[in-house]
């Protein structure tokens, strides 16, 4: 039997995968994708809770989050393009003009 807890565990795992990806992948695009994973983990949690509570609030939230995530990717990609133009790289490690 699939309980909300199962959904939540999956959601937490998804969140962690996203985080792990952010920490390990060097490519900016990959990092953006991993961030998407984190948002989707939250989406999953919302859906699961909405189901558990039986109200629509959670589902409504998901729509908001999807829109925000989409916008975030848009901005992210735009910046990635600028990055590749200005610094000729998409490797996050190499983007460290600003430090200390």
């Amino acid at each position: 039997m699939v309980t909300p807890t199962h959904y939540l565990v999956v959601s937490a795992l998804l969140f962690c995968i996203g985080l792990a990806g952010i920490l390990t992948r060097r490519n900016v695009l990959m990092i953006l994708l991993c961030i998407e994973l984190m948002f989707n983990a939250a989406n999953l949690a919302f859906i699961a809770y909405a189901d558990a509570w039986g109200n629509l609030g959670g589902q409504m939230a998901v729509f908001f989050i999807i829109v925000v995530a989409a916008a975030e990717v848009t901005v992210g990609l735009a910046i990635a393009i600028l990055l590749s133009r200005q610094l000729r790289t998409l490797n996050a490690d190499e983007v460290s003009l600003l430090k200390w």
């Binding site: 985080l19 952010i22 920490l23 990092i31 996050a92 490690d93 460290s96 430090k99």
Partner: protein, 629 residues
């Protein structure tokens, strides 16, 4: 008591102050006015003192009053400032104003060519005021005020010719040595005040009140004997410095850098005698403390003897007189230590006359020759008759020539000494012999024989260059010479209420014999040259060099000041300040802070993934704390 007597008493104190103020306000560029004001001020004081004396004469019992204003008045603490007239203070005031007036007049001639006459007279007047503050003080604080102020004026007057490094140093030294002594003196005053009553508001600095309170407290056994002895010793620190007793005597010979009138007035007749005066003033206290009295006696005796020895080998005329002053002060202190208040004051008085005379004569010599080395003088008796005659009178009085003032006063001390302690008596008699010797040495070397000046001063100077001093300088000399002769017949001890001491022929004979021995020896060595001085020196090489180096006391002090105090203690403190406090503690903290900043900014690697990682750690930390609550 009549109001005019009170006014007289105040006038003694205030007229020199008024003179000083006048000079400061109006006389800075008017030397004549300054001199006139100063002389007039002190003379007024003298006349007032005479007026009081005449009133008191013959009925001295009636003369004891004080008049004061309150200087500090707080609940529980009253410090008056005023005048206390009793035979002791009146006698001292007479000496200070009388001898002082003569010296002031003399100085008008002596300092005529000086560039800073106004400053000189201003400070002299200030000195006179300060000295009279001591003399007429009604309480310990007023006395201390005067005590410090005479120290200041002495400092300034020794350094009158400040361009001379030696003069500037000498002034500094005098002030410093006195400061060290006053450290103990101040503690003594504080302790005495504290001992006078357990309740703050009932304590007093007032001489007469203290005497009453303490006497009864001592009788009731309220104060431990040790405390009192300690207080006595601390108080004695004051005279130790001011009267230049061993081992704090070192400043006085150096103080001869000052103009000669200053040496005569401050460093011979009056200020240095203030210590003795103080001992007499607080005699009721000291006399009840046998241990302290013993210390005083021996310090005085040692000073008398050791300084006389130093005078033997000194070649500078004024410094010889300075050592002689030390020696005589030793006599006075010893006298008080022996319980002879009147004897001490007696000698103080006669010494003021003849020592001032000697100094002024020496000043006259110096005025004419600009030379003080006795070996470079000579034959003055011919070129400066009056001066030499005066000097001779003073010298004989100093040497204790029978019939002159010094003879009587010294004799009373010797009598006292013999009655108390054989050792001190021998020491004192020996000192009398030495005194005669060095006095005669000066006379024979500098005043008799032929002048050695001509060879040094070349053709222009010569024998004929030496002129007798002007009358304004000679007249005071004559007066002082008269006093030196007659001082023994003025009845000073009787005025102080002492029963007339019996004349002891044996003591007198011994002292005269000692003096004559000294005199003869000096005559043999320096006049007849039966024994060459060189030979004597060679024979006594070791003690001679010991004396030549003044017992190495100056060196020891010099070593202490320059090495121990300056390099070691002050240097150590400065090192601690620089390295430990500023370097390690303060700058160290600053560097530590900065270092922490440098370390922390290293977290800012510039890599975004590190940032995410730290973020994650933060969240994890928060969650962990939440879980463990």
């Amino acid at each position: 008591m009549p109001a005019d007597l009170v006014s007289c008493a105040w006038a003694i104190l205030l007229s020199p102050l008024a003179a000083a103020a006048l000079i400061l306000l109006a006389g800075v560029h008017r030397p004549k006015l300054s001199a006139a004001a100063a002389i007039a001020g002190l003379l007024t004081g003298f006349l007032c003192a005479v007026r009081l004396f005449l009133h008191a004469h013959g009925r001295h019992d009636a003369l004891l009053f004080e008049s004061s204003v309150s200087w500090i008045a707080l609940p529980g603490l009253t410090i008056p400032f005023g005048v206390l007239i009793d035979p002791l203070s009146l006698l001292m005031a007479l000496i200070v104003t009388g001898v002082g007036s003569l010296i002031f007049i003399y100085a008008a001639g002596y300092m005529a060519e000086d560039a800073a006459v106004s400053r000189f007279y201003g400070l002299l007047s200030l000195f006179a005021f300060s000295m009279l503050t001591i003399v007429l003080a009604t309480n310990w604080i007023q006395l201390f005020i005067g005590w410090e102020l005479v120290g200041f004026s002495s400092y300034m007057l020794i350094g009158h010719w400040y361009a001379k490094p030696s003069a500037a140093e000498a002034g500094k030294k005098a002030f410093m040595v006195n400061r060290v002594a006053d450290f103990g003196f101040m503690l003594g005053i504080l302790a005495l005040w504290a001992a006078s009553s357990p309740t703050v508001s009932q304590r007093s600095f007032h001489f007469l009140t203290l005497e009453r309170q303490l006497s009864s407290a001592i009788q009731a056994g309220l104060i431990p004997a040790g405390t009192l002895t300690l207080i006595g010793l601390l108080l004695f620190c004051g005279p130790l410095g001011k009267s230049a007793q061993f081992p704090l005597h070192v400043w006085l010979p150096d103080a001869m850098e000052g103009p000669t009138p200053v040496s005569a007035l401050i460093h011979a007749a009056t200020m240095v005698a203030a210590g003795v005066y103080l001992l007499c003033r607080a005699f009721w206290l000291f006399s009840g403390l046998p241990e302290v009295m013993t210390v005083i006696m021996w310090v005085g005796g040692a000073t008398a003897f050791l300084s006389a020895c130093l005078a033997l080998v000194e070649n500078d005329l004024k410094r010889i007189l300075a050592y002689s002053t030390l020696s005589q002060l030793g006599y006075m202190v010893m006298a008080v230590g022996l319980g002879g208040r009147a004897e001490g004051m007696y000698h103080l008085g006669t010494h003021a006359f003849f020592k001032a005379l000697l100094f002024l004569s020496a000043g006259s010599v110096m005025h004419a020759t600009h030379e003080l080395d006795i070996w470079k003088l000579g034959g003055l008796a011919r070129s400066m008759r009056w001066t030499s005659a005066c000097f001779l009178v003073g010298a004989l009085a100093l040497a204790g020539f029978p019939g002159l003032s010094g003879f009587f006063s010294k004799d009373e001390i010797l009598v006292l000494a013999r009655g108390h302690h054989l050792g001190i008596y021998v020491l004192a008699t020996l000192t009398a012999g030495l005194t005669a010797f060095y006095t005669a040495r000066v006379w024979f070397v500098a005043f008799t024989g032929s002048s050695r000046l001509s060879t040094r001063h070349g053709a222009g100077g010569g024998h004929h260059g030496v002129q007798e001093s002007p009358p304004i300088m000679l007249v005071p000399l004559f007066v002082l010479a008269a006093l030196s002769v007659a001082g023994g017949y003025l009845g000073i001890p009787r005025f102080l209420g002492a029963s007339h001491a019996e004349f002891h022929w044996d003591v007198a004979a011994t002292s005269v014999a000692a003096a004559l021995t000294g005199l003869t020896l000096a005559w043999l060595i320096y006049k007849r040259q039966a024994v060459s001085a060189q030979q004597v020196v060679q024979a006594l090489a070791l003690p001679y060099s010991f004396l030549q180096r003044r017992y190495w006391i100056d060196e020891m002090y010099g070593w202490y000041v320059a090495t121990v105090q300056q390099k070691l203690i002050a240097g150590l403190c400065a090192w601690v300040e620089r390295v430990v406090i500023i370097g390690a503690a303060v700058n160290g903290t600053a560097w530590l802070t900065r270092g922490a900043g440098l370390l922390l900014r290293r977290c800012q690697t510039g890599r975004v993934q590190t940032y995410v990682f730290v973020f994650l750690i933060g969240v994890a930390g928060l969650l962990t704390i939440a879980l463990t609550r």
